[in-house]
């Protein structure tokens, strides 16, 4: 059952969230995106809309893990054995991991149907489907701990190792983790929080005209999904072209020393642990510069993305979560003037 998806281009406001998604679409190495916020701010809508926006990719024909024909280092065993195969075009997978999924469907397990017929065959799970794409977890803070353990392990290694039911399989599993949730429902465990490259807080728009526009578009979509999607086809195509252009520009975007220094200073001023903050800062700034059509990373790019890169890396104050992004913004102001 395929339901019409609300067009990404038609989402009102929520610029940070959209920017984070676009950046992750341009450079999948940025790491995941975490979207936390109020009820009904279009978190899930935006993420599902992203799937419809993404340009297609080249995959090995018939490969269950959609290996990239151009990168033979990361091929799965089957592709390696075959040597080379036909390259075909396929949509970038955006895979939903619903709450209540069981471990066997996440990592893959014995193919039940064929096991009943007497043969032992591995049936890939959601991690395999998400390879080279996005894995989306709504209500990520409610995900069961044993699944989180698995995800952390796979996300760190980029490879899914299955040792169960007499099967021994390994396959590539590189994906962009996208999580959304409502902090009122429960906290995210720190290790998982750390896996996300970017985190954005979304809020309900505060002004009446924006809200009316939100309701009007939503209502318009619900009453006539096909017509509404058609109306937004052009802006949608334009966005898609922007992502494609940014991807091809990305390798040539340069990072001047001054930008590196700024990033390092910012991280030091905020006392974030480790180098991950700086690396993500630079990587995301490059993606944003590429999206903007710029040749090199400048202050304005860093300024724009600093809160979403560093907000969740600050030391936690248990009584006050909202302060994190404000602290980043203040540090940015002090540093960049």
């Amino acid at each position: 059952m395929m339901r019409a998806v609300f067009p990404f281009a038609a989402i009102v406001g929520q610029e940070d969230m959209k920017l984070a998604m676009m950046a992750a679409a341009v450079d999948q190495g940025i790491g995941g995106v975490l979207v936390f916020g109020d009820r009904g701010t279009g978190k899930s809508t935006t993420i599902r809309a992203l799937a419809a926006l993404l340009p297609t990719m080249k995959v090995m024909d018939g490969c269950r893990y959609h290996c990239d024909p151009a990168v033979s280092d990361l091929w799965c065993e089957a592709c390696r054995t075959a040597g080379d195969g036909k390259a075909v075009t396929a949509p970038v997978p955006v895979v939903d991991l619903p709450l209540g999924a069981t471990e066997d469907r996440l990592v893959g397990a014995l193919d039940l149907e064929r096991a009943l017929a007497g043969s032992k065959v591995f049936e890939p799970g959601l991690l395999a489907r998400a390879n080279r794409g996005f894995l989306y977890i709504d209500e990520v803070n409610l995900l069961e701990d044993h699944l989180v353990d698995l995800l952390l392990d796979v996300a760190a290694s980029g490879e899914n190792v299955v040792e169960r039911e007499g099967l021994s399989v390994r396959h590539p599993a590189r994906f962009v983790l996208i999580g959304s949730g409502n902090p009122e429902e429960g906290e995210l465990r720190p290790q998982l929080l750390d896996r996300f490259g970017l985190s954005v807080e979304v809020r309900t728009p505060r002004d009446l005209p924006t809200r009316i526009e939100v309701i009007r578009r939503r209502d318009g979509f619900e009453r006539d999904p096909a017509g509404f999607t058609e109306t937004w086809r052009k802006p949608q195509d334009k966005l898609r072209r922007r992502i494609v252009a940014a991807r091809s520009r990305l390798p040539s975007v340069t990072v001047p020393d001054i930008a590196l220094e700024r990033a390092a200073r910012l991280c030091m001023a905020l006392g974030t642990d480790g180098l991950r903050g700086e690396l993500t800062l630079i990587r995301t700034a490059r993606a944003i510069a590429a999206l903007d059509g710029d040749e090199e990373v400048a202050d304005r790019h860093l300024r724009q993305i600093a809160p979403m890169v560093l907000g969740h890396r600050l030391r936690r104050n248990p009584l006050d979560d909202a302060v994190a992004s404000t602290r980043v913004t203040r540090a940015v102001e002090e540093l960049f003037g």
């Binding site: 014995l110 193919d111 039940l112 959601l126 039911e165 429960g186």
Partner: protein, 572 residues
């Protein structure tokens, strides 16, 4: 708003809901079990179209029944996987009844929400992957008292929140639930009017205005109108928006004075069209204001006190009862052998053992090409999860504490360590002094390491009590996530003089310490506070009370009573 009015509103909401349960999301009835609720539900079932599926969702339904899974017996018979639908998919096109909705856990709430948003259930369980249609409306029975409510994010997707707690049998009047088609002209700007009203009432989420629009359309259809009229908008604003009011509308008009008079609340034949129709002075107001007025007229009299209590409900009250605290897992831990069982709901099938169990019966089961496996052959993997205790010692090593017998405190901890070692507990050690807390020893079972860490503990500097409590709590949470039970033991003289932000000043520092203590209590971690001051410090006792910790002044505590106290705290 009188009880009679509440009942009439409930009936009107019922009429709308019964017409489009899926589109309107849900209906929550807050009322104790009793004749009023029974009567209401009887009317609701009557109003629903014949043949519409109605499924009841008991409180502790597992994922296999909620979402669906593998139908074992059918699978074995057919020799291929057969899906068993869950309640959500079974309720497709109908109504799902949630009993005791106020006690529903966050996980079930999230699953319901996901199904409501997508109109389907995505099943990735027991080796199956399916998407099943699941479009349903929910009838939530909320028996909560005071601060107990169904999950807010679920209520957000319901059109109607009805409160029948104040309604008694005498108030029940049989009325025509919806007014006859009134002469109400069609109107433009419905979206703007509804958004404006929602905005003025402080309703942030976009779901309620969307639901109100739908409700207005249903009302128009039921009244035989092609287009939404003002009366429909007024009705929708009153039924959908008014119960969610978060702040009083900004204009200075005293709430509900002129309008209820015109509305004659006890008049059973009351027509909501009247709200705008018979009020001449209202007629020249813009539509937005008139819709808002309709919602305001329905605001309960004790709104302000209610608002205060919802605020309380959003705070710490929700924090305990978090998922998975004392859950015994069948999915985690070290595999230790197998046992017969049902390989669904996440339990892991042990294939080899299953086949071995089935093998001796093959001849009895008849000769075919296929290997025959029956239900009783299934073997599932057993896991053993160590549920041990980890005691987190947070030791105050400040100057004041050093003066007040830090050495004795160290001795006490050492005795406790020995005791923990005997019980195979783990210990962790945090010291706080100067302006921060440091983790001296991550959770370990090694007694010598713990002793070394403790012996090398220097004293001196001010007391960052808040930082110490927080560090202990963060560690305790990590321990809990790894499946062990944490117990926090705080050794301090409670003379806090460094605040969380590093600032000095006793008052500020004490306030911060109290706040941290409250967070610790909210996290539900068992705690023990050992007062190391020469004489029992009243602030330490208050702090202990705030974090619901057991309070033990050191002068009266010898090692054996300390050790007993920790054991008891761990068992609690």
């Amino acid at each position: 708003m009188t009880a009679g009015r509440a009942w009439i509103d409930a009936l009107q909401a019922t009429a709308l809901f019964a017409d489009d349960p899926v589109g309107l999301g849900g209906l929550c009835v807050r009322a104790g079990a009793g004749p009023v609720r029974d009567r209401f539900l009887a009317l609701l079932w009557q109003a629903l179209p014949a043949g519409m599926p109605v499924r009841r969702l008991p409180l502790h339904t597992g994922d296999d029944r909620l979402l669906g899974g593998l139908d074992l017996s059918a699978t074995l018979q057919a020799g291929r996987p057969v899906v068993q639908k869950g309640l959500l998919a079974e309720a497709d096109g109908g109504v799902l009844v949630l009993a005791m909705a106020e006690r529903i856990d966050a996980g079930v709430g999230a699953r319901l929400r996901a199904a409501m948003d997508s109109g389907s259930v995505t099943l990735h369980r027991d080796g199956l992957s399916r998407v099943l249609p699941a479009r349903f409306g929910i009838v939530a029975l909320d028996e909560g008292v005071q601060d107990e409510h169904p999950p807010a994010s679920l209520l957000d997707r319901f059109a109607f929140l009805l409160d029948l707690t104040g309604v008694s049998l005498a108030d029940l009047a049989d009325v025509a639930p919806l007014p006859e088609a009134a002469r109400s002209p069609p109107t433009d700007g419905a979206t703007e009017a509804i958004c404006h009203a929602a905005f003025a009432l402080g309703i942030d989420s976009p779901h309620p205005p969307l639901l109100a629009l739908r409700a207005a359309r249903v009302a128009a259809r039921l009244a035989g109108r092609e287009q939404v009229a003002e009366a429909d908008l007024a009705l929708a604003a009153r039924l959908v928006l008014a119960p969610r009011t978060m702040c009083l509308p900004p204009d200075g008009e005293t709430r509900g004075e002129p309008e209820p008079a015109a509305n004659a609340p006890d008049d059973p034949g009351d027509d909501p069209g009247d709200d705008a129709g018979n009020d001449l002075s209202a007629a020249d107001k813009p539509l937005e204001d008139r819709v808002l007025d309709a919602a305001k007229a329905a605001l309960p009299a004790d709104l302000l006190s209610q608002l205060a209590s919802t605020d309380a409900a959003r705070g710490l009250v929700r924090a305990p009862g978090r998922a998975g605290q004392a859950r015994f897992s069948i999915k985690r831990g070290r595999p230790v052998g197998t046992r017969p069982g049902d390989p669904r709901d996440g339990a892991r099938l042990h294939l080899l053992e299953t086949l071995k169990a089935a093998a001796p019966w093959q001849r009895l089961r008849g000769k075919t090409d296929r290997f025959k496996v029956c239900r009783q052959d299934f073997r599932i993997v057993r896991f053993r999860q160590r549920i041990g205790t980890t005691t987190v010692f947070a030791v105050d090593a400040s100057g004041s504490a050093a003066l007040n017998r830090l050495a004795e405190a160290k001795g006490a901890v050492e005795l406790l360590l020995a005791d923990c070692y005997v019980r195979r507990d783990q210990v962790a050690l945090i010291a706080f002094r100067g302006n921060a807390a440091t983790l001296l020893l991550p959770p370990t079972g090694s007694l010598p390491r713990a002793k070394r860490g403790l012996a090398g503990l220097p004293g001196g500097g001010p007391t960052p009590l808040a930082a110490g409590i927080e560090a202990a709590m963060t560690l305790a949470e990590t321990i809990r996530r790894s499946g062990r039970t944490p117990v926090v033991t705080l050794l301090t003289d409670a003379r806090a003089n460094v605040a969380r932000d590093g600032g000095t000043g006793r008052q500020h520092a004490e306030a911060d310490a109290m706040a941290s203590a409250l967070t610790l209590r909210a996290s539900g971690v068992a705690a023990l506070l050992i007062d190391t001051s020469p004489r029992p410090n009243p602030f330490a006792a208050r702090l202990a009370a705030e974090m619901r910790a057991r309070y033990l002044p050191l002068p009266y505590a010898d090692a054996s009573s300390l050790s007993r106290a920790i054991r008891e705290a761990g068992a609690a």
